[in-house]
């Protein structure tokens, strides 16, 4: 299968500017100024069926067409490189191995939206990817590909590289904007959407690193070609991140719509020690879990949604037969309890209580009513909050006990306990304090 972005994922270093140009790099960025006006470029991206690869899968061209160009205010481009969805590690590879591809994609997106200043928000823990990307930006400035009159055209583009400081919620696009403005990352009520009122009150385009990195390919080889690579309304390929109990974990660039079975058994080498598959998280931690019987499915936004899960960020986490689903759910909900920003009560309290109940169960003190209580809390967590973090937490919370109910019942009945919850490890929630939910005051 042909590789697009991932053909650059070789060796330990970045493709420097010279190497990238030798490979045809920045050809697409030069081309657009003569070939397209901004509107025409948006139409081209629409035709490619490129979807947002940060998690929501929103059609990129359509998002751009919502940006008002007559407000008298500048339009900003913000690149989401916060990569916090557990199970996801693809953007790190782009920043690390081929930073110029992202810069080229940014130039294309900027031109389509009349942007002259762009920010890249990189998660704070990505120290080396940050250094490599910043170096690439410096090199691009030095060669006149950023700054004033880029490529000798009448077009200016400035890029500012900004680092986060450790908060999953800052991957949510409006939490990210708040953080970029120098505040804690409390997501904003929508509407207005960032396209209309975004960074510093101005219209703002927010896209994921990977989404933008496909733009040079679309320009070079055509929107129709890209659209045909994927499935219906899901153009192109994406970087699937496969981790957990497979023989060959890693980043695999595959067409949207590829079979999950094929991905696990052929591409990622199958299950370690040839054990049996138990379950798969198909699109980052926030996607509803699929049982082993549900893997004959095409991995695109629409098919996974129809199956009650989501394609999300492309993080595929594989669980083999040895896994305790109760412990896996406790670990999962501990993440949300830790990362809830605390702004909305259903999320702050809900994730805190759920984690408290689950760690009671994995501590060997589960009660028979706990399964019911989890479902009850779950029922008020979805759709009741400012952002989608709680909806993301509700997906595993609903699907694990639904699909593996007998395991939860047995775990409680037999008073099993987990290594992750032994005394001396941590008392549940003691260090969970960001949103100061229930979990914090145990």
């Amino acid at each position: 299968m042909e590789k697009l972005i991932s053909k650059y994922f070789v060796g330990g270093e970045s493709f420097g500017l010279d190497a990238y140009e030798k490979d045809g790099g920045y050809g697409a960025a030069r081309l657009i100024f003569d070939k397209f006006d901004a509107k025409g470029l948006i139409e081209e991206v629409k035709k490619s069926n490129l979807r947002g690869l940060g998690g929501a899968g929103f059609p990129t061209g359509m998002k751009w067409s919502f940006v008002p160009q007559n407000t008298g205010k500048p339009v900003y481009l913000v690149v989401n490189a916060d990569e916090g969805e557990p199970g996801t590690f693809k953007d790190k590879y782009i920043l690390w191995h081929v930073p110029h591809l992202l810069i080229e994609g940014m130039i294309i997106a900027a031109y389509a939206n009349n942007v002259h200043k762009a920010y890249v928000y990189i998660r704070g823990e990505y120290t080396e990817p940050y250094r490599k990307f910043q170096q690439a930006v410096d090199d691009a400035y030095a060669r006149g590909y950023l700054g004033k009159n880029i490529f000798g055209k009448k077009y200016d583009l400035e890029i500012v590289v900004h680092r986060g400081a450790g908060a999953y919620i800052c991957g949510e696009e409006t939490g990210l904007l708040e953080s970029l403005e120098g505040k804690k990352g409390f997501p904003r009520l929508k509407p207005p959407f960032p396209a209309v009122v975004g960074l510093f009150g101005c219209p703002t385009v927010i896209n994921n690193v990977e989404t933008l990195s496909y733009l040079p390919f679309i320009i070079n080889r055509g929107a129709e070609w890209f659209a045909k690579l994927g499935s219906e309304k899901n153009g192109g390929m994406r970087l699937f991140c496969v981790s957990g109990h497979v023989k060959k974990p890693g980043v695999y660039e595959l067409p949207l719509g590829i079979s999950l079975r094929k991905m696990i058994y052929e591409i990622a080498g199958g299950i370690r020690e040839d054990r049996k598959l138990k379950a798969v998280v198909p699109g980052g931690l926030s996607a509803a879990i699929l049982s082993a019987g549900e893997i004959d499915i095409g991995m695109d936004f629409d098919q996974l949604k129809a199956a009650g899960s989501m394609a999300g960020s492309g993080g595929v986490i594989v669980l083999d037969e040895t896994v305790s689903m109760v412990e896996a759910l406790m670990v999962t909900m501990r993440f949300y309890a830790h990362e809830s920003c605390g702004q909305c009560s259903p999320c702050r309290e809900g994730t805190g209580w759920v984690y408290k109940i689950l760690s009671r169960i994995t501590g060997g003190h589960g009660r028979s009513e706990d399964i019911h209580n989890l479902a009850d809390i779950c029922s008020f967590m979805g759709g009741t909050t400012i952002c989608a973090l709680a909806d993301g937490a509700a997906m595993p919370l609903r699907s694990y006990p639904q699909k593996f109910r007998s395991e939860f019942e047995a775990y409680i009945r037999e008073k099993r306990s987990s290594e992750a919850q032994q005394p001396g490890y941590e008392s549940a929630g003691s260090e969970i304090k960001r949103g100061e939910g229930v979990g914090a005051i145990l």
């Binding site: 557990p86 199970g87 953007d91 191995h97 080396e128 981790s243 109990h245």
Partner: protein, 178 residues
Amino acid sequence: MNQELISKIFVPEIKKKTDALVARYETRRASILEVLRLLMDYYGHLTLEIEEAVAAYLGIPPIDVREVVTFYTLFYTAPKAKKRFNVCRTLSCHLMGSDKMIRYLENKLGIKTGEMTPDGEWSLHAVECLGACEIAPMLQFNDDRFCGHLTEKKLDELIESAKKGEQKTSSGKKQAAV
């Protein structure tokens, strides 16, 4: 009083760097994450005095700085250990044995998760997904280098090399696991 505090914290070298950071943004406040990081790198951790100076310098209330400092996990408000292990414990790492790695480090260092050794040399933290699940179980050393495919033997080696003060930066080969 503010002016005094500002010149105490923003010594010439730091002031110059701060001004360059501030100049990148539309508002002074937007530079705060980068400015706090700069000050933390220089002073080791963020004190209330530093927070106040930042508030005065960026022209925002001290409570707003406090909110930011306490919201994000990468800001230290107390002295940090010289050698810090942040072990990831989210799902992919959990599946690959992060609990065992954490327990091993606890025993080896004689501290519990979240603690620092009394001599201030070592600390151990459990953290959430660091975006390196392909090399699970993994940890981040001193908030910089990623170390993956952890085993007890690897942890022993890591401790030994940290003792010798080998300050390797992250090596691409280690992370590029495809």
